[in-house]
Amino acid sequence: MLKIADKEFSSRLLLGTGKYPSFEIQKQAVAVSEAEILTFAVRRMDIFEASQPNFLEQLDLTRYTLLPNTAGASTAEEAVHIARLAKASGLCDMVKVEIIGCSRSLLPDPVETLRATEMLLEEGFIVLPYTSDDVVLARRLCELGVHAIMPGAAPIGSGRGILNPLNLSLIIEQSNVPVIIDAGVGSPKDAAFAMELGADGVLLNTAVSEAANPVMMAEAMKLAIEAGRLGYKAGRMPVRDYGVASSPTEGLVTN
């Protein structure tokens, strides 16, 4: 079970809800993924346009935990404001702190992320900061009392996979709260790798929503995360420099 604050989840896949080709495909992808935590963004409603369908309103909210993000914020104060708005919906008390510090790479601003996290924890939120793979920053966030830490594998939406497995391993090793690899996952191999490193979960969006077949990819990601987790728990064999025969070297029937 994945335990975040006092909530328990049987799925270790957290799914983003942006950029799907259609609501119908998205609904199927969400169902097949078996994700229990879904991320959302908070935005001004387009009230002057004809009533537009809203994905969240089509969900059975008793089955999902909403994880609103603070995307769009560039300062701690803006992030706190977005988190308060989300909480005022009465639907969630968790928040993904996401404060972008570089518009080109979409990498998070470490200083503002740390500040916002501290402020939100003080207000009683369940806080899951999206952070870079910086080991010391991750430790500082843990020391503040976050409920999970979410280091990125690679820039958001880049699909480049895990760029720094060593840093992620060090973050996982030192963390006393769940580590969820967030952002940059491109394929099932990346998700499995994250879990094999010992991550507690994976948060992804574009890898599914931008796949040629998002529903099939949602299932692939689910299976990859399960496989990676099992592999981690099973304990992998050592890596060697030279070949070691699998077949007996005695009783050979050749000369």
Partner: protein, 68 residues
């Protein structure tokens, strides 16, 4: 006199029968939507939707959209 408010960044004329936030939401056909209301930069909790609307109020209606 008609009340003029700033609604989601646009000037909006409130019809006389709309006196509160709840009535505004219903008038806009948003009564059963999942949303959050901010009035003059202050977030309104659900049990405060009976707050009266005054001339020149700045009101934001916010909701959840897809995101990662």
């Amino acid at each position: 006199m008609k009340k003029m408010i700033d609604l989601n960044g646009k000037t909006y004329s409130v019809v006389p029968e709309v006196a509160t936030i709840q009535q505004l939401l219903e008038h806009l056909g948003l009564g059963d939507r999942i949303l959050i209301v901010e009035k003059n930069k202050e977030i309104l909790q659900k049990d405060h939707y009976d707050t009266p609307i005054k001339d020149r109020d700045q009101i934001e209606i916010i909701h959840f959209v897809g995101g990662g």
